[in-house]
Amino acid sequence: MPSSRRVFLGAAATLLLTGCSSDVLGLRRAVRVAVSWSGEELRVFHKVLDGLGALDYPVEVVPLGDDISTAFGARSTRRPDIVMLPQPGLVPRHLADLEPVPDDIAQLGRARLWKELLVHEGTTYGVPFKTAHKSAVWYRPSVFRQAGVEPPRLWSEWLTLNQTLTKAGVTPLSLAAGDGWVLTDFLENILLGIAPSVYAGLATATDPRPSQHPEVAAALRLLGTMWSAPGVLAGGVKESLVQQFPDALVEVFGHRRAAMVLASDFAEPVVRSFAADPDDIGLFTFPPMTAGAAAPVVVGGDVMVLPKPTTEDARDLVRRLSAPTAADPWIAEGGFLVDGRTSGYSPELTRLAEQLTKPGEQLRFDLSDQLGRIGDINGLWRVLTDFLIAVGRPGAVVPDAVGDAMAELRKVEES
């Protein structure tokens, strides 16, 4: 039938034409947004973009994962127009590569905490998109009830709690040692809890030398004490090492092989979607290290920055993304905190949001981000992974492992 053939050819031609549109060919300049998210988070971010309505330019999302800091490196390929930087601490190190954000949204970058990282000599170089509370521990209340324990109010109580659970036949902790930042978060919470001034000093130093502070060794010792306790880690160190961040959550809530996991607020969607029992989800915040001390709150977040040279389209997209309602689709999915906002979240996240805005808390930005090379994948991440392996060996002596880790850290600093 000639007519049907014509229809077919017409359809094929149309398909070909749409296929070869400049968008697909990559000829039209899309606004490229580099993000570190993947999986569910990436999908929700696409939803956020869709929620912005019709834009005059195509938007391309580039998931860079842990290598996001390379987005504005000197030899970067296809420099993105917007970087959703999950390590706001990197901003001061890259001022030369960044454009100031548009004046009308600059005040967003001058909020508490963010100011010291994003504002330099009166110019704002980034605006927060997402805030992360990195001192949260997700747990299963049913297990705690069975063992007759309460969420710990002190570090020492936490250690006792672990012992009680182990005796009751429950593995207390699940640890995502496959992702280095999970390990650094743990250490940072302890360090901030025992020596806030050292933490602050390291965060602001131009040439930070964590290995020269005995407090860092002390924090490592405390960490080693917890990790090396027999039977404390689900699957032992070996299995922990192959667990990525969401795997550890599934261990606790999906397979129910552990009681709790240190995980940020953004764990929420994973926890909820994989939980075997949706009502068996609890959350406590990292306890103070000693009685009377303030509880440590390590803050992270994703900050929008504009690498040089920027375009009007990129500025426009940043403006739209920093609108108060832009992130609503993500907030609805859970696991998203907006800086300064305390309502509209689930009960668990509301508690975290309130702690973030309460005056007088021991709030600090993630330290490893601010250490530059020392804190990244080849620095602290690696040192802590090796440390975990060392304390996980049978008959391991924690002080020796601490000594090795400090020596390793010194090597990183000197190289």
Binding site: V24, G26, Q243
Partner: protein, 590 residues
Amino acid sequence: MGLHTNGLSLEVVGREITGRPVQGRPRRPAGPYLLGLPALLLSCLLLIPIGVTVVTAFRTDGGFGLGNFAVMGDPSALHAVGNSLLWMLVAFGTVGVGFLLALLSYRLPAVTTFLQPALVIPFAVSILVSGATFRLIFDPTPERGTITAVSTRLFGSSPVWLGPGLFWLVLVSAFGWTWLGYVVSLFRTGLDAIPDDVTRAITAEGVRGWRRVRALEIPLLRPITGVITLTLVIAAVRVFDLVLIVVPGSMQRSADVLGLNWWRATTTGGDSGRTAALGVVLFAIVAAVGLIGVRGLRRRRWAMPVTVVRPDPSLARPKPTRVVRRFGWFIGFAVALVWIFPAVVLVATALHSPREAGLHGWWSFSGLGFSSFGAAANVGLFRALLSTLVIAAAATAVLLVIAVPTAYLVAWGGLPTRLGRIAMGVFVVLAVTPVQMYAAPLRDAIDTAGLAGSRVALALVHAAAGLPFAVLLLRSAFASAPPALVSEALQGPARQSAVLATVQRTYRPALVAVAVLEFALVWNDFIVGFLISGPGTTPLSLVLWGEARQFSTSSGPVAAAAVVASVVPVVLMLSFWRIVVRGLTTGSRP
């Protein structure tokens, strides 16, 4: 010959003609040289950046020297070199296993029925997909990982398969799964080409078993073994994306290979001279292996494949007995089942909802449906498919348009011998050059030209990278044309076009092989797009890559994306596999 008349006998002795029938130098029209011009221009896309890299590697502050190679003293770089060498051993092992499998399928012909398609599928999918599949199979939790579940059930506990040291098993399985099909198919074609009278003669002499393999098959298959080993060793040294997707972040350091080390050095803003030096070392290893491999093929004068004559059906081997056939059928079925299993795992995982796939293995009966495909589609899978299609089609078209005349020129265009040899030498070197050798300068140039992100630029780079192999393959196909046929064509009125027409008709398998392999290669590409254009322009891999960051909880969408990404190359390879193998071995008779 003699004449006899009247008792007179005249002896007529013919004198052999030596030298040319027509005196003087042959006229060499300049026209044909133009055929090579596009290839020269396209190759410059690689040659110039390679030159830049070499110069950068040897340039130090005080002039030229080996200063940058001090980077090799770095323990992590040394470790990476060691691992790359280990990978070469893996390649040799794969060749050995493939040879044995091919021998098995040769002795027990019924095996082939099942084995062939089962072996082709893995070759068609990208290494990223096969890495993801094996990571699913070896997942450390007994609820998700097949092997972990089986060993927990049998022994009560299971080693952590992705853990320190053991991740090698996962890597090697994925590598072997991908490449064995290619190895077996080529060996099998070579075995089929062994003349039956030779086989019969040697069997009649009572040479059997292992002695027969050593006396007959191994020596006769030497050239084809060269080709296979070369391909595999190069693939092994280039391993990059496999490690990225299989090995959990905490262990990637111990799994480091040279290619990966180079990439980390460039992304962390390492000194360009030192990274260039790393690239040169990687290149030196590959080139050394390449040259050794090619030496074995020297007698064929760069003709990559071996000539294979289809067996004459009248001289077919005696049919094996029924018992042997049954046995072969059974073994073939079993091996095929094992071989197809990873593909089954992948498809079954994709057919579970994201939640179910994250919690339980592929065998679970709950949560079946297409929601994982939906989840993968939400991150732009279909737009990525379209982009990939455009890039792969463009690269294949450009490649064919440029490679065919070039191969013709090299084979029959009357190039002076030395020039032809140099050209072929350059192509062999380019064919084995790792992308790290030209990636950095090339992407800088593309960025400067304002073409960053242009898929046209990427397609051109792909075509340039595929050109050397295509020319080598087509050239040997063209060159093996029977001289009578070609001289006939050459003497005809429309000389070159007639030759081209003959060549086209006779050597379609080689052309199909080039087209299909290039298309599949570009479609499955991760590393070239990733290193040249950054993560944005390799759309399909990008989706996989983005999803795989949180591997187990994204199992469903990862598997779905992998399935969708694999459909096109698998269908293509399955439909053209026989012709591709014939093309690879120039196995057509005129």
